[in-house]
């Protein structure tokens, strides 16, 4: 993902160069496009579900500008926009995507400062809501507001007002390849503790080293791949299990003036485990070179490794490489030794928000579009089957996600074996910039674990002053 993100960032930057020369041009061409395509698109089934919106909407041309972060859904979203032209012919939806937590926030600020404010943009949690409060329109009246699943919108609810529509529900844990586990004779369902996981990884690694699995999986070289280069994997996602057991929610995390880091030992055990059964076991500095692509596209997707710490968002990417492997994926729990060993982390990555500094008509059209996307039948199809989302709303009984990772998340959720995402409540840049760097220093051997702990605790307290 990160690689794609970087490439996207490159493209956006290049595009920005040209945008300077003729920013009024693209809007014009897009409108003409809408006019020509509406004639052909009227026959699609979407019309019946959204007649309401068409009636309400006036004939006036309205432009809705979406500035969003999720690179993986760009095609699906473009398809949705295409279909929406039939529903509301007078609305032109422009889509712009800049990926990644960090990159997106910076790009959004730049966008707003340039005076080119988007109608729909994304916020990620309490910190974003506080930062952007002056621009967020309350969405209590939206038809989906009552349908949001319990607790899913707590991060964007302030004083009873809801300021964002959750994208989807995502979960991450240790994604594993069922075929490799089977071939190695490891029963994945029994892995509900840290020790069981360690035993399983040891068994697999021993068999790899002995060459027992080489016939079936010629590329298999290590049990685990862990992307320490991606500080969001280490500093945000992994560390989440520590703080999900120190605080109850992202709001509580956000309000915490300092941290105890009381489960630091369990966290260290996890980091050591990830290193010990990786391809960089004898030189952990090499862990810092492992990025998302190495972990996913050149890792689990080609059966070079059996287990990675990632979420259900990898499904589409793995499927593009090897459909069989994608169907063989499942989740093992993310174990925090001695504390919580049988759960995966489940949460909402981002929320759709509407900019109240744009025109009334634009806001209305934006609201209608989001509503159509998440509650109409055609929209639901796109959300579930094209974006591969786990829906964050009620009323999706007839359209359920089909991919194995999403199914596993639902299974964990139904069994109550989940922990919330609290990393959204970390101080700005603490997770990636401070803790993520600290973990890299630990792997590189330039800092001891205790020094890292000292530093990250001090930094947290400093940012909360």
């Amino acid at each position: 993902m990160k690689k794609v993100l970087s490439m996207l960032l490159v493209m956006v930057m290049v595009a920005a160069l040209f945008a300077g020369c003729g920013s009024s041009e693209p809007a014009k061409t897009e409108t003409t496009e809408t006019e020509t395509s509406t004639e052909t698109a009227t026959e699609t089934e979407t019309t019946e579900t959204a007649t309401e919106t068409t009636e309400e909407a006036s004939d006036e041309e309205v432009e809705v500008n979406i500035f969003q972060f999720k690179v993986e859904i760009v095609d699906a979203l473009e398809n949705a926009i295409e279909q929406y032209k039939a529903v509301a012919p007078n609305v032109t939806v422009n889509l712009q995507t800049v990926g990644g937590g960090d990159d997106y926030g910076a790009a959004l600020r730049a966008q707003v400062q340039s005076g080119n404010e988007p109608t729909i943009f994304n916020v990620g949690g309490p910190q974003d809501v506080e930062d952007w409060m002056s621009k967020l329109a309350p969405l209590n009246d939206a038809p989906w507001a009552d349908l949001v699943l319990d607790g899913v919108a707590s991060g964007v609810t302030v004083d009873g007002n809801i300021y964002g529509l959750p994208y989807n529900i995502e979960g991450y844990g240790l994604a594993y390849n069922k075929a490799i586990f089977e071939a190695a004779g490891v029963d994945a369902s029994s892995i509900t503790t840290f020790d069981a996981l360690e035993n399983a990884l040891a068994t697999i690694q021993t068999k790899i080293d002995a060459g027992d699995l080489a016939d079936q999986f010629p590329l298999l070289e290590a049990a685990v791949s862990y992307a320490a280069k991606e500080t969001w994997v280490t500093g945000l996602h992994s560390s989440n299990m520590v703080f999900a057991n120190e605080f109850s929610s992202s709001i509580e995390t956000f309000n915490a003036p300092s941290i105890e880091f009381k489960n630091a030992e369990g966290f260290k055990a996890y980091l050591d485990l990830m290193a010990m059964y990786s391809a960089h076991a004898d030189n952990t500095e090499g862990m810092i070179g492992v990025d998302y692509a190495t972990q996913v596209d050149e890792g689990i997707a080609i059966e070079r490794v059996a287990v990675i710490q990632q979420g259900n968002w990898i499904y589409g990417g793995v499927k593009n490489v090897d459909e069989v492997v994608a169907e063989n994926l499942g989740f093992l729990p993310l174990p925090l030794k001695g504390v919580q060993e049988d759960s995966i982390a489940v949460g909402v990555p981002m929320y759709w928000s509407i900019n109240k500094d744009t025109d009334e008509a634009q806001q209305k059209a934006a609201m209608d579009f989001l509503n159509w996307l998440y509650t109409s039948d055609a929209g639901k199809q796109i959300v579930v089957n094209e974006m591969f989302f786990i829906p964050p709303l009620k009323g999706y009984d007839d359209v359920q996600p089909a991919d194995p990772l999403a199914k596993d998340i639902l299974a964990y959720a139904n069994a109550g074996k989940t922990m919330p995402w609290v990393f959204m409540g970390y101080p700005t840049d603490w997770g990636m910039g401070v803790l993520g760097d600290g973990i890299q220093k630990y792997y590189a051997g330039v800092s001891t674990w205790d020094d890292v702990l000292e530093e990250v605790k001090a930094s947290w307290a400093e940012s909360r002053k």
Partner: protein, 287 residues
């Protein structure tokens, strides 16, 4: 006289207007923001006096970035100019195909910094790694995962990109020297080294002024290549000043503090390049 003044403003006016609009005004605005605290979103900009400037003295990451940038600039300036000059010497020897070689050496400069960064990232990590595995050479493995290889990577990348550009400047200078001077020196018994040392180099001084100016300012201001190749990693140890300033502004949302850093950065780079220009200008000789 009156007429020429009109022409003068007719030509200078539009450019001056644009320059004022996109450089001068933002710069003064920037200086203003450097005395303020601002998160980049809200409209309340609180003036905090010199706080932002004083804070820099206790900012370890800022100093680490400054040190890294300075070290990079010194090594990069030497290496870029050395290779640029060497290449210029090579392709002015009248060897067959030297025109083709000129184009090839110049070509890296036509590729954007970000793309180069990603291309070299691939080379350093994948290609070097493969060769390391193949021949059992440990030092080729795990590039860009520590500060040393990150530094070396940046130097190699920048030299590869900028040397061709410097080469063009030096070629022009070398070709500007009349052949008769060399012939006269040859007759007087000067050997190749003496001809270079006492005729060529002094007469090339204007080119060195430009070359040094461009490489020094470019090395200090390096951003794209740094972002694409290492993005400051591992553990922010290869984060150069420009990247540090952008991170302060857009990741930590402290636009005022970032502006203060940028102002200091501007003054330092300005002082260094102006000093260099003064020194090298003095050494320029008339033919």
């Amino acid at each position: 006289m009156k007429r020429s003044k009109l022409w003068y403003w007719l030509f200078v006016g539009p450019a001056l207007f644009a320059f004022t609009l996109v450089v001068i005004i933002p710069m003064f605005r920037g200086v203003y923001f450097s005395f303020a605290e601002w998160d980049g979103i809200s409209n309340d900009v609180t003036l905090v006096g010199l706080d932002n400037y004083l804070r820099m003295f206790t900012d370890e990451q800022f100093f680490a970035s400054a040190r890294f940038t300075a070290l990079f600039a010194i090594v990069a300036v030497i290496s870029i100019n050395f290779f640029g000059f060497t290449l210029a010497m090579l392709v002015t020897r009248g060897i067959k195909g030297s025109n083709v070689q000129r184009s090839i050496f110049y070509m890296p400069n036509l590729i954007g910094g970000l793309i180069l960064g990603f291309v070299w990232q691939f080379i350093f990590i994948r290609v070097f790694g493969e060769f390391g595995d193949m021949f059992g050479l440990e030092f080729l493995k795990n590039w860009l995962t520590n500060t040393q290889t990150g530094f070396l990577g940046l130097i190699i990348l920048m030299t590869w990109q900028m040397a061709g550009y410097m080469m063009i400047i030096y070629i022009a200078a070398i070709q500007g020297i009349p052949e008769s001077l060399f012939e006269a020196a040859k007759i007087d018994g000067a050997n190749a080294w003496e001809r270079m040392r006492h005729i060529m180099l002094p007469l090339m001084m204007p080119a060195f002024s430009i070359g040094l100016f461009l490489t020094i300012s470019n090395s200090f201001k390096l951003y794209d290549q740094n972002l694409a190749l290492t993005n400051g990693g591992p553990y922010s140890s290869t984060e150069m000043l420009a990247l540090n300033i952008v991170a302060t502004a857009f990741t930590n949302n402290e636009l005022g503090y970032a502006q203060a850093k940028a102002v200091v950065f501007f003054l330092v780079v300005g002082a260094i390049t102006l000093t260099q220009m003064r020194i090298t200008k003095k050494k320029e000789v008339e033919m």
